[in-house]
Amino acid sequence: MATLEFSSSLGNTAPPAGIANPTIVASLEDISKTYYMGALAVEVLHGVSLEFFAGDYISIMGPSGCGKSTLMNILGCLDQPTAGKYFLGNEDTSQMLDDELSTIRGARLGFIFQSYNLIQQLNVLENIEMPLFYQGYAAKQSNEIAMGLAERVGLGDRVDHKPFELSGGQQQRVAIARALAVDPLIILADEPTGNLDTKSGAEILKLFDELHGQGKTLIMVTHSDELAERSQRWVRLLDGRVESDDRRDS
């Protein structure tokens, strides 16, 4: 496979040392994405191939406009690639119907956005419960789960507050709790600290460290080398291509 050669030539995509039986939770095979604006076609991703292992903590980096968000949207099944294949677990998402993709997003993936994306009319608890609601959880059960997660992100005493009554850092913690509600396979975060000051950002990253410690798979887009320091693997994009892919040795 050409893709395999290509990606391995870039460097260290081998499974993390010390994990005996590494599991691939997601793999991109020669993904490209073209946006059409009228007659104009702009290819934003040019044949990206990546594999992600269970329990990994990955930072995706690169200059503005290089295609990080585009890649994240594809990884999150919010967008479909123009060409190439995206396997989530052992399933080819390009073959899936809209309803199945919805279920994947709701049941297997957790999103954290730069701008939090909480629903303003709903309070903290209701926001955290939302993914559970769409998975058909009973009210009592989803309530319990949401309460537990609110406490875990340090907002146990704010559950009936509306998003606009919270600070940016607190809102982002609600969003993290919401992303964790269905116990997802992968947590996807696109510049999760982009709107936050250093202190709030640090709190968020502390939460990420905890999640990583618990064996969750995290994929995070960030501009900051400092923040990326905490992860295990760094994927650098440049103009829609994987420029480098490095792993912490240890």
């Binding site: 594999e51 997003r105 058909g136 269905v182």
Partner: protein, 459 residues
């Protein structure tokens, strides 16, 4: 590469079949009512947060539904009233009445000196001619109606005294409440017997039983032998020329007694002085054997009377024809009413569609978030559709309340009969809910068809 793809089942089961991690199978309720309860709450919240806008939106539905119910009630009432009159007057009856001709009024006003008696109206000769020249007439009941003060000791009232034949109650479907009507022999004997309408009986005999009592008219006493049922809606046939046509009070004496006690000429007070008039018969009920022939017989009677009378001093009423007219106009009314109601429901529906489209645009980002968190297209459709249905349903409910109140107000202030049948509110409400669905579908589909990424980017 294949070697690396070792699938640890615990993590990589199909996301579509893998049960959600926190749930027990019993705790999971797919497509449950809980799900729709939650969506309904979302809809109510959104409507509530735009209170005034929502209220204005549903105004069209409110008006439409209220109009449907109110107009149905009015036309139902009108047709009931028409049928009531029709029943009172009889399907196979023709009613001929004397009417003071217009020109006579003027000549009498010009004259000075003692009042001259005006002669007009139906005569016994007319009635005989009609009876003899038209086949298929089974009976003719001729009546004289004179306004008199009637007395029971100290109590008196002014009422119509109807001198008539024994068949009168039968011909008018007008039954006795107590006692009996007078007999053929009493008519022959010019007997001083009287049958009171329920209203007169109540007024003159507030305490005593009227039966066996007697009343005084002019200087004669009459024995009360019967009391009629209270009258229904119909006052038709009661009004003598110039007499009040609202008070249904009247009393009945034998035709012969009326003629011999009161004479042919009656005098009454008018604005311009005293006025005398000579009217032999005030009304005649002509009963026809075959109901099919009633309208035709009515026309023949008109021809006969035209030949015999120089002036138009009579009217002919054919209840069946009146009923047909009433039915026709009721139908026309309900078509107009239906059109008005339909238009306002349509306007209401468009209003709802407009507001739903605005709501969808306003909440584009919310839609994106919900989609990103696992909402299927049908979840989004359900959310907005339920909101539209709640809007139109609330409008419908307000409309039903108004629509039931309006007929009461119409009845109270204009004295029209209105009937709210239970089907009308149910029908109107169902239509309003349907409007919600029909006009909510397009905005909901628009919401569901949004691209999640695009929707999330929306500010």
């Amino acid at each position: 590469m294949d070697g690396w793809k070792v699938m640890t089942d615990a993590i990589l089961e199909s996301p579509l079949t893998r049960p959600a991690a926190h749930s027990h199978s019993s705790g999971r309720v797919r497509f449950s009512l809980v799900r729709y309860k939650k969506i309904t709450q979302v809809g109510i919240k959104s409507i509530y947060s735009h209170g005034l806008r929502s209220l204005l939106t549903v105004l069209g539905i409110v008006i439409g539904v209220a109009a449907v119910i109110a107009m149905l009630a009015v036309s139902e009432g009108a047709s009931f009233e028409a049928q009531q009159q029709f029943r009172d007057l009889g399907a196979s009856n023709i009613l001929v009445k004397s009417v003071k001709p217009a020109e006579v009024e003027e000549t009498s006003r010009q004259g000075f000196g003692p009042p001259q008696a005006i002669v007009y109206g139906l005569t016994l000769m007319d009635v005989d001619t009609i009876r003899n020249s038209i086949p298929g007439i089974s009976n003719v009941i001729a009546s004289r109606i004179v306004k008199k003060n009637v007395w029971n000791l100290g109590i008196s009232m002014n009422t119509d005294v109807v001198g008539t034949a024994v068949d009168y109650p039968v011909s008018r479907n007008y039954n006795l409440q107590a006692g009996r009507f007078f007999s053929e022999s009493e008519v022959r004997d010019h007997a001083n017997v009287v049958v009171l309408s329920a209203e007169v009986a109540d007024a003159l005999f507030p305490i005593d039983n009227p039966l066996g009592g007697s009343i005084k008219i002019d200087s004669d006493y009459y024995n009360v032998i019967g009391i009629m049922e209270p009258e229904g809606f119909s006052n038709l046939g009661q009004n003598q020329a110039g007499a009040s046509n609202s008070a249904p009070s009247r009393i009945f004496i034998p035709f012969s007694a009326s003629k011999s006690r009161f004479g042919e000429t009656t005098t009454r007070q008018t604005a311009g002085g005293m006025e005398s008039e000579t009217v032999e018969l005030h009304e005649a009920i002509i009963q026809v054997d075959d109901q099919e022939a009633v309208i035709e017989v009515g026309e023949i009677i008109d021809q006969i009377l035209q030949r015999r009378h120089k002036k138009v001093d009579y009217t002919i009423e054919v209840p069946l024809a009146l009923l047909r007219q009433a039915e026709e106009s009721a139908l026309r009314d309900s078509i107009v009413a239906g059109a008005i109601a339909g238009i306002s429901l349509l306007v209401g529906g468009i209003g709802i569609m407009n507001i739903m489209l605005a709501s969808v645009t306003e909440r584009t980002r919310e839609i994106g978030i919900r989609r990103a968190l696992g909402a299927k297209k049908r979840d989004i459709i359900a959310q907005f559709l339920i909101e539209a249905v709640i809007l139109s349903g609330v409008g419908g409910l307000i409309g039903v309340v108004l629509g039931i109140m309006i007929p009461f107000i119409i009845s109270a202030f204009w004295g029209m009969t209105t009937i709210v049948t239970p089907i009308a509110p149910v029908l109107a409400f169902s239509i309003s809910a349907m409007i919600g669905v029909i006009f909510g579908i397009y905005p909901s589909m628009r919401a569901a068809d949004m691209d999640p990424v695009e929707a999330l980017r929306h500010e």
